[in-house]
Symmetry: C2
Subunit: 255 residues, 2 copies
């Protein structure tokens, strides 16, 4: 297979005090990680930061410069602690102003008199932003430059990402193959596994112990762009499991 182009890179920035206080379990990172991988986009880093303007501005500028794409979640609602949108404008050095299309859509969605100043903030965006549709609750996200600004509520974020996804530059999807064995011990298989991993340096081969009601063991997951290489590496790991007296099973262990 010809050398594929390097995968585009991305970072995820989760913005919200509620994640850093432990009030809320973030589930947006995993969703985005999976969807980006399916599209051949390499998620290189994720950060969680608080609702502090200087921190948001500096982190957005650092990450948008370092990676091909930046996805933010959180902080675009109507309340005083929703400050992501104006911070993105500050990061880009552009005015934060009513977005005509967002404004029109939102105004239509409220009864007369209910599109109040707080709700109008959700139609106020950095100049030059293009909208990310929100099929759940109207108030759109937006894209400016290589930064995609989405809601924090998982159902809304997921719907936004799915409308955005076709516009993203993609790469060769990252494929994965796995094999696992009950009763396997990482300490016993580590050395021969390292030798296999060294022979397949184009692949990312990970070893993951699991602890499940059905029994403990180890799963080996190989990821990469070339399916034939993946099959070959997993065949070697399968043979290694058998040599060590474990019964290899294709795929990941059932939850």
């Amino acid at each position: 297979m010809a050398d594929p182009a390097p995968a585009p890179t991305a970072a995820v920035l989760v913005i919200g005090n509620e994640i850093l206080s432990g009030r809320t379990q973030d589930i947006n990172l995993r969703f985005l990680a999976q969807r980006l991988g399916e599209r051949g986009i390499r998620l290189a880093e994720a950060r969680v930061i608080p609702d502090i303007p200087d921190v948001i501005v500096a982190t957005v500028n650092e990450l948008r410069a370092r990676y091909d794409m930046l996805f933010t979640t959180g902080g675009i609602g109507p309340t005083h602690d929703d400050i992501t949108s104006e911070c993105i404008a500050a990061a880009f050095g552009v005015p934060w102003e009513p977005h005509p299309e967002a404004w029109a859509r939102m105004e239509r969605s409220y009864k007369p008199g209910e599109f109040n100043p707080a709700r109008q903030r959700m139609a106020t965006m950095p100049r030059g932003a293009s909208l990310i549709e929100n099929p759940i609750s109207t108030a759109p996200g937006f894209t400016i430059g290589n930064v995609h600004v989405m809601a924090g509520v998982p159902r809304v974020m997921q719907a936004m990402f799915d409308t955005l996804a076709p516009r993203l530059p993609g790469g060769t999807p990252i494929a994965a193959r796995a094999v696992h064995a009950l009763g396997a011990s990482e300490g016993r298989l580590a050395e021969p596994l390292a030798a296999i991993a060294a022979r397949y340096e184009e692949l990312d081969i990970g070893s993951y112990p699991f602890y499940r009601p059905g029994g403990n063991g180890v799963a080996i997951v190989a990821k990469g762009l070339d399916p034939a290489l993946l099959e070959a590496a997993i065949a070697e790991v399968t043979a290694l499991f058998a040599t060590l007296g474990y019964a290899p099973v294709a795929g990941e262990p059932a939850a």
Copy 2:
């Protein structure tokens, strides 16, 4: 109440390709966020990075310089993709060498001949590290400087943190009070809520819409060091809910 000393700050660094690929849902961040808050330690930032040596070294050095404490999870097992420990040694510029006490403990825990080179790596640490007990599976974590290095498996990480916690410098515990109302709309309460938040600038007042089988609504959470201020702020929010025609309920909505 006298002005409290500023809370010590912390960062959490989650190390592992499996989080960035979406294979694994991280639950360590939330656990650490909650426990740190209970001890009066302000979690200022969290990052998720891949198993790449240069990235680990650079990120550890950035975060340990910026915050009072750094907690890492992941990458201290016996396999080739477990590289956190040697990267921490590189970050501190110290040798990575057998830790006598960790070595003795681990050697005792295996049958003769089974403490192989892969397992010996788990007893190899940066010079000067002090151990963090592992009551679950023996192989210890460690502390060096202000960096606390723990396992990625949640059950092991949690047990490690609980043995470590009494040694951490603490602050005044961060207290929280909450009130919520079914049927409440952020867009209606945002403006008067912002006025309350502006009057209690020592507090962190957050607004969180919820979508539950029992009904949708909004929860307002106030956090801070002074319980009397928290009570006063939540009383004002409770009155605001009532003014808007919502039925306020103390605390957070049931899951």
